[in-house]
Amino acid sequence: MVPLLDRKLLFVTGKGGVGKSTIAASLALLAAEQGKKTLVCEVDAKGNLADFYEAGETSFAARELQPNLWAMSMNTEESLKEYLSLQLKIPFVAKIGPIARTFDFIANAAPGVKEILTIGKLTYEVRERNYDLVIVDSVASGHIVGQLTAPTGINELVQVGLVRNQTQWMMDILNDPAQTGVVIVSAPEEMPVAETIELAQRLDAETDIDLAAVIVNRVLPELFTEREEALFEAMRTPRKIDAISKAVGGAVKPVFDAAELAVTLRRTRAGHLATLREGLDPMLPMMFVPYLFTRTHGARATRRVAELLGEEL
């Protein structure tokens, strides 16, 4: 299997709330600091990719945030303009008017138009070798298959025309595991685990695109060994709690309750992790990012996750 960051195009997806954008931002930071010219592209128009680097707004035109790290956000209308001026040599200022006005309707009505403009732009950057690696903070797991199969779908629907000719090279890049891979971000909770397994199966059944890795985010640390846990339980009798409180000079019960909560959360999550492992191909690389007990979620957290991913890779 091709090492993750040696590929050219990585789609990072996952169920909402698992930290997909954090992982995408951290992978890009890691690759850039390894000396790869990296583009990170936000596809969901939430516009908060910049928050992960605290480096200002991103737009369709890629911007270098730090050496080797470029960031952009997808805008399908801009992508269409770029495509028209590049591919059709249309002086778009003159003739784009009617298109711009009707674009939204077309894009909302014709299936796959927005998707193909997104995929087209990303694969174009790969084909032109503008970057060593393109990392996509992609749509959530429910929509990713639709997005990735857009070229195939368009290829079937559109019989002739430029778009049909264009879809072939996109598919060639997408379906080559040496170049393209999907990274599913998961979390040790019930729904993210279920969606990860389902997506892995759908990618296999409905696409020719390679699943490169599953990254499990927010893994809680193991607090105790089995023996230590037994000891912890023995300490939790009311009499012992009283004795400990006296010895430290303050109520110790809340502190013990917190440890009990941590143990229970960890145990529930370990069960979900086991389910995840069972549901995935044993050969599939899995990486684990621990839960960060930190105050912030900005550049500092992105860097921390990048370091942890670097150790896992």
Binding site: N48, F105, G146, L157, L223, L231, A234, S245, V248, V255
Partner: protein
């Protein structure tokens, strides 16, 4: 005792009061915050305490949740949660709880069957490949159809309260705008242009540059396919527009309220705030903000901080009191782990409290659900969660 003076405002203070006065509650928020579970728990509580017929309409529930509601089949059919499930939870409900799951494809097909002018058009639409693409895969079609189903069930008048779980969207706003967008679309210039006889279209000077470009990009066959599809669809436009407008009105009706669900993490909370703003802008009724997975308040107690620190720095002062349990070294290791774990969770709990304090505007009801360490497997679990938000 004198009867309590009625207040001059009829603002609800609890979810119970809120749902007692509403017929539709729409649960919304970003992905992964527990929208579906919250909707199901609220509906279950309403059926137990308020009575009447209560329906929870969900989009894509976890299998376990479906089982908890006694739903074995996916589909648009509404099924009653068996009274035995309540009995097993030790509860005697005043009303009935019903549940249904949204089948997008089936709902679209039903809509076409209802609005198609004749059988021929109906069959042609259902067989059209572009229609199949849109109804099956088209993301935005989910948003519209969820609201459409809600409208249909509500106007049928079968239920006293309908609690709806909204589909996972890229943007929580999408489903609010879906009916308007649908209505706009059918009355749009583009549609008229696409469905005009093709001779006129090609000849029309105004549209010629567009047609030329579109033709070069998409190929004329595809354009013709689209045109055929829209021509067919156009025949249903009046019904559709009227319907979409009615759906829009339902969302703004006095009997409808929105439950915004979030966790206290930054991203979902930002989205919740954004959504609350959007509801206000549209003059839609924000009924409650429900905060899920909130860490227990004892974690924020500052008096516990020095205790935890002492366990880390000086566990030796405690180990004599526990000499009967194990070797001092083992006891001390466990004690300092306990202290560290407390401090870790305290950081998160304080961060959450700051996030919560930072919420700009607040709805009538704010409820916090503590971290449930186990998953919900049955109606009893759902009701236990419901208890936390009900009063």
């Amino acid at each position: 005792m004198a009867p309590r003076k009625p207040t001059d405002t009829d603002k609800a203070r609890t979810l119970e009061q809120l749902l007692a006065t509403k017929e539709i509650a729409i649960s919304c928020g970003s992905g992964g915050v527990g929208k579906t579970t919250t909707a199901a728990a609220a509906a279950a509580m309403a059926s137990v305490h308020l009575g009447g017929k209560v329906l929870v309409l969900t989009v894509d529930p976890a299998k376990r949740l479906a089982n908890a509601l006694g739903l074995e089949r996916f589909g648009n059919t509404e099924t009653q949660v068996p009274p035995s499930a309540f009995a097993a939870a030790g509860v005697e409900p005043r009303g009935e709880l019903w549940a249904a799951m949204l089948d997008t494809k089936q709902s679209w097909d039903d809509l076409v069957r209802r609005h198609a002018p004749d059988a021929k058009t109906k069959d042609a639409i259902l067989a059209n490949s572009i229609y199949q693409n849109i109804s099956g895969r088209f993301v935005q079609s989910h948003d519209y159809i969820a609201m459409e189903r809600l409208y249909e069930i509500h106007t049928a008048g079968t239920y006293d309260l309908i609690v709806v779980d909204t589909p996972p969207t890229r943007n929580a706003m999408d489903f609010l705008e879906a009916p308007e967008r649908m209505s706009d679309f059918f009355s749009s210039k583009l549609l008229r242009w696409l469905t005009a006889p093709s001779k006129n279209r090609v000849m029309s000077l105004a549209s010629k540059p567009f047609y030329t470009v579109a033709d070069r990009i998409l190929g004329s066959q595809f354009l013709e396919d689209i045109a055929e599809f829209f021509t067919l669809f156009q025949s249903m436009a009046p019904g559709f527009v009227e319907r979409a407008d009615a759906v829009s009105r339902t969302l703004g009706d006095k009997r409808t309220t929105f439950l915004v669900v979030s966790t206290l993490e930054a991203a979902p909370l930002d989205e919740a705030e954004f959504f609350i703003g959007a509801l206000e802008e549209r003059k839609l009724h924000l009924g409650a903000l429900i905060l899920n997975k909130v860490l227990p308040s004892y974690l924020r107690r500052t008096a516990s901080t020095p205790v935890a620190k002492k366990l880390i720095s000086d566990p030796g002062s405690v180990s004599p009191a526990l000499a009967d349990l194990a070797e001092p070294a083992d006891v001390e290791r466990v004690l300092s782990t306990i202290g560290e774990s407390f401090l870790n969770y305290q950081v998160v709990a304080k961060r959450e409290a700051e996030q919560r304090a930072g919420l700009a505007s607040s709805p009538e009801v704010v409820a916090a659900v503590p971290y449930f360490d186990a998953d919900i497997h049955n109606l009893g679990g759902l009701l236990a969660l419901g208890e936390k938000i009900w009063r």
